[in-house]
Amino acid sequence: MDLQSLAVILDSALRLSVPLLCACLAGLWSEKSGVVDIGLEGKMLIAAFAAATGAHASGSALIGLMAGIGASVAFSLVHGFASISQRGNQIVSGVAINMLAAGLSAIVGNAWYGQGGRSPALEGQARFNDITLWGTETIAAVPVFGPLFREVVSGHALPAYLAFAAVPLTWFVLARTRFGLRLRAVGEKPAAVDTAGISVPLLRYAAVTICGVLCGIGGAYLAVAQAAAFLPNMTAGKGFIALAALIFAKWRAWPALGACLLFGLLDAGAIRLQGASLPVIGTVPVQAIQALPYVLTVILLAGFIGRAVPPAASGIPYVKER
């Protein structure tokens, strides 16, 4: 394989991993605080819809991004209200969020635009254009690294860079700040945090809000950067692959980046390997590669390779003692 095709594969792997990474980090924030979220898919979907609508109406991709984040945070807060204030079942609430987002985006999209749920195509400023990083042309002269930098690292849209920047930020805030320490504590032993005089609901609401913002970025990337329109059900299970990546990363930020890149690479590889014959194994069905993230997650969860242990209090509503 020559350098050019390697660069193409890595570039598309990076692009495919952006929405996964957003949703994965979003889930990380939520679950670290003790709120299980299987509604990542729905939040990304409604964000993609709101982002496409906002960008189309205003002609500005940035306003689209804001609209996407707004819609996603609103759904997050519904989930937060159900699981934090009402102490409802978090899985049930997540399923409801997914169905609501799928139904609402399709029905409102169809009513507004009358194209079977598609939004009109976004053009020019209504879409995030690829950013050429500063210094790309200077480095391009360096053999191997230069072209790889130009093809793979440079030339992505703004939400993609936001997503990658969120990795060190998430790590730093969770591991090195007081807020992060408290947030992790509330996901492990909320009673201890409560005893220290810190509000458990407030911390959890903060966490689900951050979760909403990240899902919003992921959804906006799908509709306004990767594609140039909203398509019904365009998240196509990415929110669930992100959930798998989160388990794979054992609820840690840097491994989350690794898992999302790996799943992105699998996805990019599946497209390239369609019909190709590999040495030794022969032709691999594309479906086998597509199913790999899910199969790996099942195996990992079953403890056959390592052990994935979620935060101790995740999924359990906190009831203050009386």
Partner: protein, 369 residues
Amino acid sequence: MSAPIELPRWADLALVPAISVAAAFVVAGLVVIGIGENPLTVTRILVTGSLGSADAIGFTLYYATNFIFTGLAVAVAFHAGLFNIGGEGQATLAGVGVSLACLNLPFLPAPLLIPAGILAGAAFGAVWAMIPGWLQATRGSHVVITTIMFNFIAATLIVYLLVNVIGRPGSMSPETSEFPVNAHIPTIRAVLGAFGIDQPSTPLNLSLLLALAAAFGVWLLIYRSRLGYAIRTVGAAPGAALYAGISPGRIVVVAMTISGALAGGLAVNELMGAQHRMVLGFTAGYGFVGIAVALMGRSHPAGIVLAALLFGALYQGGAELAFETPTITRDMVVVIGGVLILFAGALEGLFRRFVARSLAFAGRRVKEA
């Protein structure tokens, strides 16, 4: 712990679900107003479209059959304290079982082939649910995540199978050959026609009776059998179950297996009753709506049948709606399902508290008077 909200039985069984449904329809009405349609017109189309003619009722009952199966599947797992989100995947695999039986045993007469297809479907669905159950019981991996993953594994597996293995040779569309005629479950129209009663042609078939029998069977199992008692004990208090000599791990596997077999009924009604071949995506979200059905029916078979009728009517009425008002599509049912899951499931406490307070207030007024 906060005290559980105590309610009289009638309020628990009828009033709380009724209020959740009413609230869900208010939200759906707001969505309808939001997209510029008249909610009253929409309601009229929904009601006449689902119940207004023998034809409409036939379709409503046909969809309700699917929802009874998926609702029962979710409910049996609920009783064991499990959340089976994998109905879609289990029904998909059941479709493979149904197809294998129907396509490979065409020489059997209908009275043998139809039960064989049903059993094969139930068995395949059961196995696809048993694995996550077994993984939870022995390896501690949570059934929610595993069943989600199994949905996606089933979705990719079925594409592979339909394209490469069991698909109709020479066909570009991912589907199997047509099942032999003796694998077709008779339609209600054909059965009533034999008695001289004329019915319009709808896909409604005898699977409806199978679904009602399954509902009765689940009632017997859960409330009238030793195993059902064990399932409910594990769901309510796994520690107590262990102390009483019940193995929670074994019950988890058994409950998931039954749940998966019930989800397989969806494949029976859709494939053997109506489409007469296996097609890609025949599960069409019925598995997820089954969660709403089970929550609304309070996991009781009678409640599930009623809730399934409601969703069947919504589904059929939604099709008419999409036909008459181009701005509204069938996705309206998904929205209503989502809101119902939110209200009847996750926000249940909100409504229960409201009902408890109203009842207490009414009680005081009666005493004062």
